[in-house]
């Protein structure tokens, strides 16, 4: 387990930070990812990429936390913080704050597709492979997520 952590701990933390924004929350999520991974380690047994497997676990866990009712309230109050207030990372821009608001409201499959496309920069083909759906389905999910974004962010001005 220690070996898995040493190889992939930075990656899991960075992904959790990109989705959750808060370094303490990202550490807490990364801890939980590896606890869950430890439970499924025997089962993993090289069935797929370890990186892809950990991406999936991290995505599921972080999206569940974003949907937490208490976090939704905090997201509604979230603002762009000065760089000194938050850790280094790509998740502090107005675009990512808006993204988290929409992710918290989105159905799980739309949210997962949006994370892979908008947070991880995956192509629709890559996202389709990791989600186990067709490329067209990913396109539909992202499109529906966009419609939800327009509804959720209505009235907020683009930066």
């Amino acid at each position: 387990m220690r070996g898995l952590y040493e190889r992939h701990g930075a990656m899991v933390y960075r992904r959790a930070l990109a989705i959750l924004r808060s370094p303490p929350d990202a550490e807490d999520a990364a801890q939980e990812v590896f606890v869950r991974a430890a439970r499924g380690l025997d089962a993993f047994a090289g069935r797929s990429s370890a990186v892809t497997w950990l991406y999936q676990i991290t995505t599921n866990l972080c999206l569940n936390r974003l949907r937490d009712g208490r976090r939704r309230a905090a997201l509604a109050q979230e603002r762009v913080l000065p760089a000194a207030e938050v850790a280094v990372g790509p998740a502090t821009s107005p675009e990512h704050i808006a993204l988290r608001r929409v992710l918290a409201e989105a159905p799980p499959e739309q949210a997962a597709a949006a994370v892979y496309v908008h947070v991880d920069g995956l192509s629709h083909d890559e996202a389709a492979a990791i989600l186990g759906v067709s490329r067209r389905t990913v396109g539909n999910l992202v499109e529906r997520f966009g419609r939800l974004a327009r509804a959720v962010l209505a009235g907020e001005e683009a930066p």
Partner: protein, 278 residues
């Protein structure tokens, strides 16, 4: 920005041809071969921005030099806590949830379940359907949908163990599934399946008309296994946790099968499974 960018306030899409984070992470882990590896190496060679992104992959993690060891200590505590908390939970095997889950992961799980005296295998998630209640405000508090952070994870049995599924995953008829639940506080739990027609089926407790108590805790393996039937289409699972006993008639399906309207004080976690045609 790409033409198919869904909203101007969302982060820009990765420019075409630039490797994704996943590709860079898999490259760094030595998981890419052939054309995929060559594509990443070509991008690193031609694009200073991609090279900087590759080199900065660990920046956030090591910005606090104490973080790696602190996080590892937390992981060890989490593993220990999972072992220690399990005997306190109901219907747990001696030795804790980790050992119990590991036994399941290692196979022979129906026998293990029988030996532990827990509920047997449910034949199918849709074996016992109850009709979704007609829209009603009886006992419901409209607008109060989610409280707390209940979580639902689904695991698919594979050779030699199991693998976690992502919501939206496609499953095949005959596949065996099990569930773990995160409960932020003790309460009453039901896991329900809602098919595209809005028919609601109790998955856990299997075939029951009402919820069952669940202690607080994370990753609580439910003593039930489900075999996917041969009905193709989307199946939404909902783990519903309430502070008191409830049944399916206290809930109603919202605008879509992915939404449930819950009694006040309840929380839910949805999970989508797509069943492939046989």
């Amino acid at each position: 920005m790409s033409d198919d960018h869904p909203h101007p306030m969302l982060p820009p899409l990765r420019p075409e041809g630039e490797p994704s984070d996943l590709a860079l992470d898999r490259y760094a882990a030595g998981e890419l071969e052939g054309e995929a590896r060559a594509a990443v190496e070509a991008a690193l060679a031609r694009s200073p921005a991609t090279l900087a992104r590759y080199r900065e992959r660990e920046t956030a993690f090591t910005a606090d030099p104490t973080r790696p060891e602190r996080l590892w200590s937390a992981i060890e505590r989490g593993l220990d806590a999972a072992d220690e908390a399990a005997p306190a939970a109901s219907q747990r095997a001696p030795g804790g949830a980790r050992r119990w889950l590991r036994a399941w992961l290692e196979g022979a799980w129906p026998l293990r379940l029988a030996a532990l005296g827990v509920v047997g295998v449910v034949a199918a998630a849709v074996a016992t359907r109850v009709e979704a209640p007609a829209p009603s405000n009886r006992g419901l508090d409209e607008g109060v949908r989610v409280k707390g952070s209940v979580g639902l994870a689904v695991h698919r049995k594979v050779d030699g163990g199991s693998e976690p599924l992502l919501s939206g995953a496609t499953v095949a008829p005959g596949e065996a599934l099990r569930f773990t639940v995160d409960a932020p506080e003790a309460g009453d739990l039901m896991v329900l399946a809602v098919d595209p027609r809005g028919a609601v089926s109790p998955v856990y407790p299997p075939g029951a008309a009402s919820s069952t108590s669940l202690p607080a805790g994370r990753d609580q393996l439910l003593p039930v296994a489900v075999t996917v039937d041969d009905t193709p289409g989307d199946l939404w699972l909902h783990a519903v946790l309430c502070p008191r006993r409830f049944g399916p008639t206290d809930l109603r399906v919202g605008a879509g099968a992915g939404e449930l309207v819950l009694p006040a004080g309840c929380a839910s976690a949805p999970f989508l499974l797509r069943t492939a045609a046989p």
